[in-house]
Amino acid sequence: MSEAPLLEVRDLAVGFESGGTVARAVDGVSFRVARGKTLGIVGESGCGKSVTAFSIMRLLPQPHGKILGGKILFEGQDLVQASEAELHRVRGGRIGMVFQEPLSALNPVQTIGRQVMEALLLHKPLTKEAAWAEAITLLDKVGIPSPEVRIREYPHQLSGGMRQRVVIAMALSCNPSLLIADEPTTALDVTIQAQILELMLSLQRDLGMAIVLITHDLGVIAQVCDEAVVMYAGQVAEYGPVEALFHRPAHPYTRGLLASIPRLTTPRKSRLPTIEGAVPALNEMPAGCRYQNRCPYAEARCALAPPPLEAVGEGHAVSCIRWRELPEFKPVSPAAV
């Protein structure tokens, strides 16, 4: 990973203004995405993972959301400083986006063909006929059966999985180099989820694009990502290659998460390890490590200063000052069915 990354987020800080005060929903987040790779951002609700994704596209809810600092370098261009016109070229052109709820991402009164076509025409100099043909090709590519028929249908006539495929087709319409997928499978059933994930991976292989996948599901991360960022309370807790993260988690939070998920291999009806307590509210964040109130290993010094990101291994970093002192993590035995 010596070459320049496709996307580099540096020290990103995002705030939401309300009644005169600004709550920092994302605070000092940094990560990189290499070309053709998949980066997962995982965390619980409110940890800032979606805000980070929206910040990359500069799609924060206005007028309350603001980027307070940091850089978002995409193909060498800082999107934080980019003008609206430049952003417009980037969005849907170089970066595609897939949302959680496909139904709300589609216009209910237009056929899916028109919507895909529109996405195409916005960024490519095509005739209408060519765009139409291209739309059919795209729909075929995302695995929609008999696309020449389906193209005339309306979103409500499709199933959730098919809709998500359409959204992906729109995101792909201009051969983006980066696809940002915000919880793309959360609203879908397991079997459909597996299909969509499979589709995204195969498309990535074919088109060579990078993917930023935002999810709360560690299983999804493990299945499809190369690297992952674990976020907690607006900050990066740990990041690294998925193998390292799942087998040698360095942050107590990552460990807690991994332990608390029931797996097929977990003894039935056994007590699950838990993370006690809850995430503090944004305006009640403690000084120092934000995880300290829930951390079984917390000490007085954890409250002194925010822990820096320390390198643990190749591309693996953790934001915990005690990571070296933690007991060894017992990896879960590989799944066997």
Binding site: F16, S18, S45, S50, P61, H64
Partner: protein
């Protein structure tokens, strides 16, 4: 009853919205003034001292002229009485209200009927209308009529709208279907035409007073409320807290009154200012067209009509227009503030 913290929060937020809260205070103040109109603007004296006795004529039965030494059996003219007592120096006196004119009274006895411009010397601060009635008095009493009308309107529309709308939303099925069709047909009836027809159908001698007018207007205004109540109930009914109550064994009455209604209360409160404005608007419109309150009941619509017909006497239309706009603006500000205070979006900034 303790306000729920959400309600307290909403109340606090409403108070913090200066414009809306200020408008609310002004409106309350004006309403109190209007309700006490007789003490401020009236042709009846506040206090009369006559032959050692005190009289409080403001409220209650009329005093015929004979009671105070005049020779007529109809109500005494207190202004005249005041002058007479003052001239007699017999220890009798009369205390008149700030504006010593009634809303229906010809204030220039013996002179031509014609609009007269504002005349502070005579106490006609806003002038008179074309039959010499004090405009300030008519404005104030007209405002009271509007207030009473809208209060009654809101209560009745809410009562009917909530009852029918909630029943439709809660019971659903054929009842809902049937009522929906009825409501649709009912709300298609041309309101003004029906008011005219209803008036004609009433037996002679029935004066079209505030109550009856209210009844007729409400009879055609309740439908709008049912739509909101129906859909709100429908939405709330399908939420899990209702299911939870049902699983606990709660019956429809408990579910409706204990669970659903408190949860749609905020909709009702949000609609309140707009319903009030609608009531004032429709009363004014009906009066303007001459299908509202029977003359000579003071009303803003009537003043507006008279004013627009007498543009050469601009103080009539100006008074009515300013008063109406002012009140409607106040209500709009209040409504805006309530809506903002109740805005659920305020609770969540981002997901």
């Amino acid at each position: 009853m303790r306000l729920s913290p959400q309600a307290q929060l909403q109340l606090r937020r409403f108070r913090s919205l200066k414009r809306g809260y200020g408008s609310f205070l002004i409106l309350v103040f004006l309403s109190v003034l209007a309700l006490l109109a007789e003490l401020l603007v009236s042709n009846r004296a506040l206090l009369v001292r006559y032959q050692g006795h005190f009289f409080l004529p403001t409220y209650g039965a009329i005093h015929p002229g004979r009671d105070f030494g005049s020779d007529y059996a109809y109500e005494v003219d207190y202004r005249e009485l005041k002058d007479r007592f003052a001239a007699e120096h017999a220890g009798n006196w009369v205390l008149m209200p700030l504006v010593p004119y009634g809303p229906n009274e010809n204030c220039y006895a013996g002179q031509n009927f014609q609009p007269r411009p504002p005349d502070a010397a005579h106490g006609h601060y806003l002038g008179t209308d074309q039959i010499n009635r004090d405009i300030l008095a008519r404005l104030l009493y007209g405002f009271r009529n509007s207030l009473l009308f809208s209060a009654g309107f809101v209560v009745m529309v809410y009562a009917i709208g909530i009852a029918i709308g909630c029943a439709m939303g809660y019971f659903g099925g054929w009842f809902d279907l049937g009522m929906q069709r009825i409501v649709e047909i009912w709300s298609l009836l041309p309101f003004l035409l029906v008011v005219i027809i209803v008036r004609a159908a009433l037996p002679a001698g029935t004066s079209f007073g505030l109550g009856l007018l209210l009844f007729v207007v409400v009879a055609f205004a309740w439908t709008g409320m049912t739509y909101f109540m129906r859909s709100a109930t429908y939405r709330e009914k399908s939420r899990d807290y209702v299911a939870a109550a049902q699983v606990l064994g709660a019956g429809p009455v408990r579910v409706l009154f204990h669970h659903i209604l408190p949860n749609i209360l905020s909709i009702l409160v949000t609609f309140l200012p707009f319903t009030t404005a609608a009531a004032i608007g429709s009363l004014t419109a009906l009066d303007y067209l001459g299908f509202g309150l029977p003359p000579p009941m003071p009303s803003w619509g009537e003043l507006l009509r008279e004013g627009t017909g007498n543009l050469d006497a601009p103080w009539i239309v100006a008074s009515a227009f300013c008063a109406l706009s002012f009140i409607l603006i106040l209500i709009t500000f209040i409504g805006e503030a309530i809506r903002e205070a109740f805005d659920p979006k305020k609770f969540t900034l981002y997901r």
